[in-house]
């Protein structure tokens, strides 16, 4: 169990303790303030080199990470490998060695295969590896920014700050995660973060889109979607991952909307204070109706905005410093 990510790679939220998560959230509060300044930059990672290695394209996440690194004054090497001439089957070890030869302190890595972040961290143990999404396995910074956003919005509602709310805010908080959990690394990271923080997590999905042996996960499987929507304080929607094959697991997109889509009718029956979240990009009209997305209960924009401070916090804790824990 990792009790702090100081000086560590961030590969998965499965082995991260409550204190480690809260440390990232609390540090991110400082970076929210930095991002409000006119000069949105601090010299914490001056002289450090952060490589951004995206084998799977994602403009948003890559820009978010690169912005975070630059606002820490790090030098950023950006390699959108997906569009380069690296062919499938090229040894991962060789690709990493080439970049490492340039002298890097950290690599932010996204790949379509589960486990690649861990494999890479074994090839270059002296480099901090920040997992930006590996196959269906984990997307740790998404889990962290989702937790951070929940804390931020609920604290504000209660007239207090995220720092003051600490971790208690999550105790018993009712969180419902809906959609293609089977193929979702965001779901795995979210569930790890929320359950570690003490929230009560329910999952709801068509039978084919739940992972095997879901009974062994720290969640309850909800069979009645509408009842769970009324139960939830927070509803996390997931995208149907057509490109990862989830299309074959349900008869059609329309059928998915019929059974598990957040339609206007379902939204109307929800409590007004329930938060709606989505890691993006959204399939408007499939897992969520457009009108619902644009309602105030949907805090998707805040999630996106929190990406940079959370990633700054992760890079700062992981890369700055000598690597000793306090």
């Amino acid at each position: 169990m990792i009790t702090s990510i100081r000086g560590q790679s961030l590969l998965s939220l499965n082995e991260i303790s409550r204190e480690a998560i809260l440390e990232v959230l609390n540090t991110a509060e400082s970076f929210v303030e930095v991002n409000r300044r006119t000069i949105k930059k601090v010299p914490a990672l001056k002289g450090r080199v952060v490589a951004s290695l995206f084998f799977e394209e994602s403009t948003r996440t890559r820009l978010s990470f690169e912005t975070a690194a630059k606002r820490l004054s790090a030098d950023v090497l950006s390699l959108a490998v997906a569009s380069s001439s690296v062919k499938k089957g090229e040894s991962l070890r060789d690709t990493i060695a080439t970049i490492d030869a340039l002298g890097i302190d950290a690599v932010v890595l996204r790949h379509r295969s589960s486990g690649v972040a861990l494999q890479v961290s074994r090839y270059v143990p002296h480099v901090r590896v920040i997992n930006a999404g590996d196959g269906q396995h984990q997307h740790p910074t998404q889990g962290l920014l989702d937790a951070f956003t929940i804390r931020q919005v609920l604290s504000e509602r209660r007239g207090t700050t995220g720092l003051e709310s600490g971790g208690e805010l999550f105790e018993g908080l009712r969180i419902l995660i809906v959609g293609d959990i089977r193929h979702s690394r965001v779901a795995r990271s979210d569930i790890a973060a929320y359950s570690t923080l003490g929230a009560e997590v329910r999952v709801c999905a068509p039978g084919t889109l739940l992972p095997d042996d879901i009974e062994r996960w720290p969640v309850t499987v909800a069979t009645n979607f509408d009842e769970s929507l009324e139960w939830a304080d927070v509803v996390g929607l997931l995208r149907l991952q057509a490109e990862r094959g989830s299309g074959a697991f349900v008869p059609s997109l329309d059928e998915f909307t019929f059974t598990h889509g957040l339609t206007v009718e379902r939204f109307a029956r929800m409590r007004p204070e329930t938060l709606i979240m989505h890691p993006g990009p959204m399939n408007r009209g499939v897992e969520v109706d457009s009108r619902v997305v644009d309602a105030p209960a949907a805090i998707v924009e805040q999630q996106v905005a929190n990406g940079v401070p959370i990633r700054m916090a992760v890079l700062y804790l992981s890369v700055a410093g000598s690597g000793e824990s306090l």
Binding site: S91, R93, S114, G115, G135, H137, Q138, R188, P211
Partner: protein, 436 residues
């Protein structure tokens, strides 16, 4: 060449006795409490060792032709000899595959230049595509006795039934890699809570067990013989043992990695542990070990699957499946059989006598130009013998294995029991644990 094995425990099918074995001109010349040897005879110290029929591997991937970077027939034979093997059955998933006389002849000819007895398992279907039957009779005429599409099972039951009906009168045996490809769904590890947590597509036990059930019924319907390759689950083993008890002509093998490693090994996403069928649960491992110890297992087969090092440096789901096996199978089998409590008769049964019968390599059924294996250690038998030292400890070091490849999942592991000497076709190929 004359060789004398001194004072080993000679393991018979039902009894054992300490003594000497004299080998002359490729044949066991004399066995006795002490034996006089010619002055130029090579002395092998077999004290504190077991002496028994040489091991036979029903399931080796020698990669030649097509993937010589990973292994060749020659390097595979050397690895086999170090593992105590006197005969290897080469799997047909080479490039081109072993579905025709020309390629089979090539492998048999190359094999004949090695000290071991290299046999071939021909493909059941052309190109191993599972559609049209391969020329089994032509291949049988070259001495091929086992046919399989290994790497993949024959998916279409009508094709498999036709293959059984065709093969049976030829006196050959079909062998099956049991996994329904659609249920296996391109998975990379055992399907279960762990695969779900790791975000890896799983290969369910059901994919294997369903095809085992199917093929048992096909055997029942056709009356043919079938050998089940690398069974990996408790249920699969139970099914085949029960079918065998009902009188069906079925046999099965298990691979060392399936009775020593479980799915937890995949937690670190290390492709060294990726194999089809995948490493299963701890309960499955325990069941396989139980079957071994009860004497229910027909054969231990290595499924030796070399892969060039860069291929195992790929992401877990892109890396090829398969692990090395020849050089540590005997030690792992010995440990699984209980080490010091291991019954040497069972040991030699699963490594030699059982596989010899299935491969038709015994004195009574060995094809021409092949030696006889799995026989009793008595005068007159072909000299294919293994001297095994149960008390030798050794450490597996992937960089010093004789195989051309290094993809062993046991790197760094200390094993108990090691082959001291291998006598293949009357020649001392391995002595004191090294190639001569």
């Amino acid at each position: 060449m004359s060789i004398v094995l001194r004072q080993g425990l000679i393991i018979g099918p039902t009894s054992s006795v300490i003594g000497d074995v004299l080998i002359l001109d490729g044949v066991i010349a004399e066995v006795g409490a002490t034996v006089d040897a010619p002055s130029d005879a090579f002395e092998v110290d077999a004290r504190d060792c077991w002496v028994g029929p040489g091991f036979v591997d029903l399931h080796t991937h020698l990669r030649e032709p097509g993937r010589e970077a990973a292994e060749t027939i020659e390097s595979g034979a050397r690895a086999g000899a170090l593992g105590g093997y006197c005969a290897l059955v080469a799997m047909p998933n080479t490039e081109p595959c072993l579905d025709n006389v020309a390629t089979v002849s090539y492998v048999l000819a190359r094999g004949a230049t090695t000290p071991l007895d290299i046999c071939v398992a021909g493909a059941i279907t052309q190109g191993r595509r599972g559609e049209a039957l391969a020329p089994m009779a032509e291949m049988a005429a070259l001495g091929v006795r086992l046919f399989t599409d290994d790497g993949i099972g024959v998916q279409d039951p009508s094709v498999m039934r036709r293959a059984l009906l065709y093969a049976d009168p030829l006196g050959v045996r079909l062998a099956q890699h049991c996994e329904d490809e659609r249920l296996a769904d391109g998975g990379t590890m055992n399907e279960g809570a762990l695969s779900g947590r790791l975000g890896l597509t799983g290969r369910p036990a059901l994919a294997e067990e369903l095809m085992v059930m199917r093929d048992i019924e096909l055997v029942r319907a056709t009356g043919a013989a079938m050998h089940f390759l690398h069974l990996s689950t408790a249920r699969s083993v139970d099914l085949v043992v029960a079918a065998r008890a009902q009188g069906l002509r079925v046999t099965f093998e298990i691979a060392p990695h399936h009775f020593t490693l479980d799915e937890q090994c995949c937690e670190g996403f290390d492709p060294a542990f990726k194999v089809h069928p995948p490493l299963r649960t701890k309960d499955d491992v325990a069941a396989l070990v139980g079957a071994l110890r009860r004497g229910d297992v027909n054969a231990v087969a290595t499924d030796h699957a070399p892969h060039a090092p860069e291929l195992k440096d790929l992401p877990f789901d892109e890396a090829p499946a398969g692990m090395l096996g020849l050089e540590h199978a005997a030690s792992l089998t010995y440990e699984a059989l209980g080490g010091a409590q291991c019954d040497p008769a069972v040991f030699f049964h699963v490594l030699s006598r059982g596989p010899s019968a299935i491969a038709q390599l015994r004195r009574e059924d060995a094809p021409p130009r092949h030696s006889a294996h799995g026989g009793a250690v008595v005068a007159g038998e072909d000299a294919n013998l293994t001297v095994f030292s149960p008390s030798t400890r050794w450490s597996v070091d992937r960089s010093t294995l004789t195989s051309r490849s290094m993809n062993t999942p046991y790197d760094g592991r200390e094993l108990l029991g090691r082959v001291r000497a291998t006598i293949a076709k009357g020649r001392l190929v391995v002595d004191q644990g090294v190639l001569t």
